[in-house]
């Protein structure tokens, strides 16, 4: 076994996707056109006001906030795979770290933009910095989300430095200015032991740092709700309930990304069935933990049925929102857990389908955490039109929400086209041996 020839093959395979082929151009055109169409909806909102959305005085938070929570949730997977699995030295996860980090960065960065779409006065965004009050959970949220985006970006960049050097030396990559850019971004990397030491140390510090920050972003996001005395939000377990739910969404997103990168970028030798199998098991684990928190969140108040809880829970279990509630719980959580227990289901294609169910379920789960609570305030809703009582999303707000999802796809696509989607160094190390170390 010559290590060098192996290295060359791996490098060639991993660098191959880095070119702007027709497929990429078509896909990007599609994304950009749909993005432009959806952004037109936002210009309408800017002109007419938030009234173009279905939210009104009673249900004043709707799809935008649900989408924001979903984005923050999904971005947490960067911390799970890079930091938790990385620090535990779980080898099989190493090639997936970059996918996880790209997803984390894209979702967290766009989450910041999503929240602007929910503002009545986006022109006053900077007031948060001029007049910010530390007592408000929104200010905490802005602080931690910004920090998380920054750390995620660094955690994507530092392990990339050696790969950037390799890219800059690869003559297949055109145009020339891109190679120049790689050269600059690789910060004079030569792979000396001293440089290795600095990079490894920096990565390690970031891996430790990102754990509390990631827990912070989603805990604080849950406090936006738990800090109020509304039925359904007034819960002490909202922090861990949201964090565990986040890992479910994040794992599903990584599985979907793995499937598409493996097929479109011809990486079947590197993102193997083994990886899908392990990710399937991981998804079962995090889903079980989430199921446990769901049991607590609904069974405990459901057992007592206190006056106002009863209204809220009856609506969820058997009322207007029952169909959505049970679909999310069954299709997005319980059935995936059961199906994924079978080895046959942990193959790429079934995993893709299950992950799609889990991810879509995760999005609606956020909606059903937010809307029914606002539909049932303490005092009766009277003397208002029907559309104030029940929330019905409009086409415009759906389009604006779609714009944010398309933007995430654009960021993920572009990043995966300009950097190797699997870390070259780690992949080579794994290809060169100790497969036995895989857990």
């Amino acid at each position: 076994m010559s290590e060098n020839s192996n290295l060359d093959k791996v490098t060639a395979d991993l660098l191959k996707p880095i070119r702007f082929n027709t497929g990429f151009k078509l896909w990007m055109t599609f994304l950009l056109v749909s993005f432009a169409v959806c952004m037109y909806a936002y210009t309408i909102q800017l002109r007419e006001g938030l009234g173009v959305a279905g939210i009104r005085d009673y249900v004043s938070w709707g799809m935008y906030i649900a989408n924001f929570v979903f984005f923050v949730a999904t971005s947490l997977v960067g911390m799970l795979i890079s930091a938790v699995l990385g620090l535990l030295k779980i080898k099989w996860a190493a090639p997936l770290t970059r996918i996880a980090e790209i997803i984390a960065l894209a979702f967290a960065a766009v989450a910041g933009l999503v929240i602007i779409s929910d503002m009545g006065r986006p022109d006053r965004l900077l007031y948060l910095f001029f007049y910010g009050r530390v007592q408000s959970p929104i200010v905490w949220d802005v602080t931690v989300v910004t920090t998380y985006v920054l750390i995620s970006a660094l955690l994507l960049y530092f392990p990339l430095i050696p790969d950037l050097k390799i890219c800059s030396e690869n003559h297949d990559i055109s145009p020339k200015w891109m190679r120049k850019l790689y050269e600059i971004l690789s910060l004079g990397w030569q792979g000396t032991p001293e440089q290795e030491k600095i990079v490894n140390k920096s990565i390690k510090i970031l891996l430790v740092l990102i754990i509390p920050v990631a827990l912070g972003i989603h805990t604080v996001t849950s406090w936006l709700f738990a800090a109020t005395s509304r039925t359904g939000w007034d819960s002490t377990i909202f922090g861990p309930y949201f964090v565990t739910g986040a890992f479910v969404c994040g794992c599903a997103a990584v599985i979907i990304a793995m499937y598409f990168f493996r097929n479109s970028y011809k990486l079947k030798d590197y993102i193997t069935d083994m990886h899908f199998d392990k990710m399937g098991k991981l998804l079962v684990l995090v889903s079980l933990v989430y199921l446990y928190f769901n049991l607590n969140e609904f069974l405990v108040p459901g057992y007592k049925m206190k006056k106002f809880d009863a209204v809220h829970l009856t609506d969820m279990f058997a009322g207007e929102n029952a169909l959505l509630f049970w679909s999310i719980q069954l299709l997005g959580l319980i059935l995936p857990i059961i199906i994924l227990l079978f080895k046959k289901a942990r193959k790429p294609l079934p995993m893709l389908i299950i992950a799609l169910f889990v991810l879509v379920g995760g999005w609606f789960k956020r909606l059903i955490i937010i809307v029914p609570t606002m539909e049932h305030p303490y005092l009766p809703i009277q003397n208002v039109p029907e559309n104030f009582k029940i929330y019905k999303p409009t086409l415009i707000e759906t389009a604006i929400t779609l714009a944010s999802i398309i933007l995430v796809l654009i960021i993920v696509t572009v990043l995966s086209k300009i950097v190797p989607i699997l870390p070259i160094k780690e992949t080579v190390e794994i290809e060169n041996g100790d497969e036995t170390n895989n857990i």
Binding site: G49, S229, Y378, N383
Partner: protein, 323 residues
């Protein structure tokens, strides 16, 4: 070799910057201390003593500088208006009493409110609700303005200090500051806040007026609007719009410091403590710890019967809210 030569040079530059920053910080600190001392002395020098009569009929002597002048003239610019709106009226603790036994759902209060603040009917700051606690308890009408809590959850969550608790009682909103995040709507357990989802109703009519925090006019698109206890009327020593409009004597309004409230219909002034004691006054959802400044007198011996035609909707709303 090069490295070795450079090292001492680098070190000395760092030292220099370090020393300079210490000197700089010291200068700034000393300067500000001197300035603070100077302005304190200056303020003190002007201090004449003045005799004033308090609400408890005591004659006391206070520093002239501690007295805030109540000017009737309207400030000419926005900053002055905002400042005045946040300071409030010194020495007052406005309090509101709503007698549920007198309300017959005339809704004159709602009309006055809509007119004063240029609101859409569905976004009136005060809402007369049809209430029924449980199946076999009698229904009644309950006017519900903002409760102007002394521990307001909406103010706690505001990220930019747009909504605030004024020393004299009301919870107000500065629409020139509000960023429209609607966290306060989520936090309010009394559903007392509304939002300008689109252009305000009388946008054209109000164009060019200086924004008044105490009246919330002109209304601003994309910001919160809410009950203000008619803070602009309080400045003119008048009762709130809704209170004066009531034909049935439902509302009492006054100053907790004076222990006196005036009925908006009869203009009769009574002792607050006595009124609450004799009628078993209570506060709405006091268990939430919000400490409302609005007291309710229970609907005992109602002056008017609950209209049967109102019943169906009342029942319906009860089904929604109280099982």
């Amino acid at each position: 070799m090069d490295n070795k030569e450079e090292k001492p040079k680098k070190k000395s530059r760092r030292d220099f910057i370090q020393q300079m920053s210490i000197v700089g910080a010291g200068t700034v600190l000393a300067g500000s201390a001197i300035f603070a001392g100077y302005s304190y002395q200056k303020k003190k020098k002007q201090g004449d003593r003045i005799k004033v009569l308090t609400a408890n009929n005591e004659l006391i002597e206070v520093d002239k500088n501690d007295i805030i002048k109540l000017s009737k003239s309207v400030p000419a610019d926005l900053t002055e208006m905002q400042k005045r709106g946040r300071e409030g009226i010194a020495g007052k603790r406005w309090v509101w009493v709503i007698d549920l036994s007198k309300c017959r759902n005339a809704r004159k209060c709602m009309g006055a409110c809509i007119g004063a603040h240029h609101l859409r009917p569905e976004q009136c700051h005060i809402n007369v609700l049809k209430m029924e606690e449980s199946e076999h308890t009698p229904p009644y009408y309950m006017p519900k303005p903002c409760q102007h809590c002394d521990n307001p959850p909406c103010v706690a969550v505001c990220p930019v200090d747009a909504t605030f608790k004024r020393p004299d009682g009301p919870v107000l909103i500065d629409n020139e500051r509000c960023i429209g995040c609607r966290f306060c709507i989520a936090a309010c357990p009394y559903s007392a806040r509304m939002f300008q989802w689109t252009s305000p109703l009388k946008e054209k009519e109000d164009e060019g007026k200086i924004y008044d925090v105490e009246l919330n006019l002109p209304e601003k698109k994309g910001t919160i609007t809410k009950c203000l206890m008619s803070a602009d009327r309080l400045r003119e020593s008048k009762l709130p719009y809704c209170v004066s409009a009531c034909p049935n004597g439902v509302y009492y309004f006054g100053d907790e410091n004076e222990d006196a409230v005036t009925n908006g219909t009869t203009k009769e002034t009574v002792r607050l403590s006595k009124l609450l004691e004799e009628n078993a006054g209570y506060r709405l959802m006091a268990e939430l710890g919000t400490k409302p400044r609005v007291y309710y007198l229970p609907a005992k011996n109602k002056s008017y019967p609950f209209q049967d035609k109102d019943k169906p909707e009342a029942k319906e709303s009860i089904k929604d809210n109280n099982i």
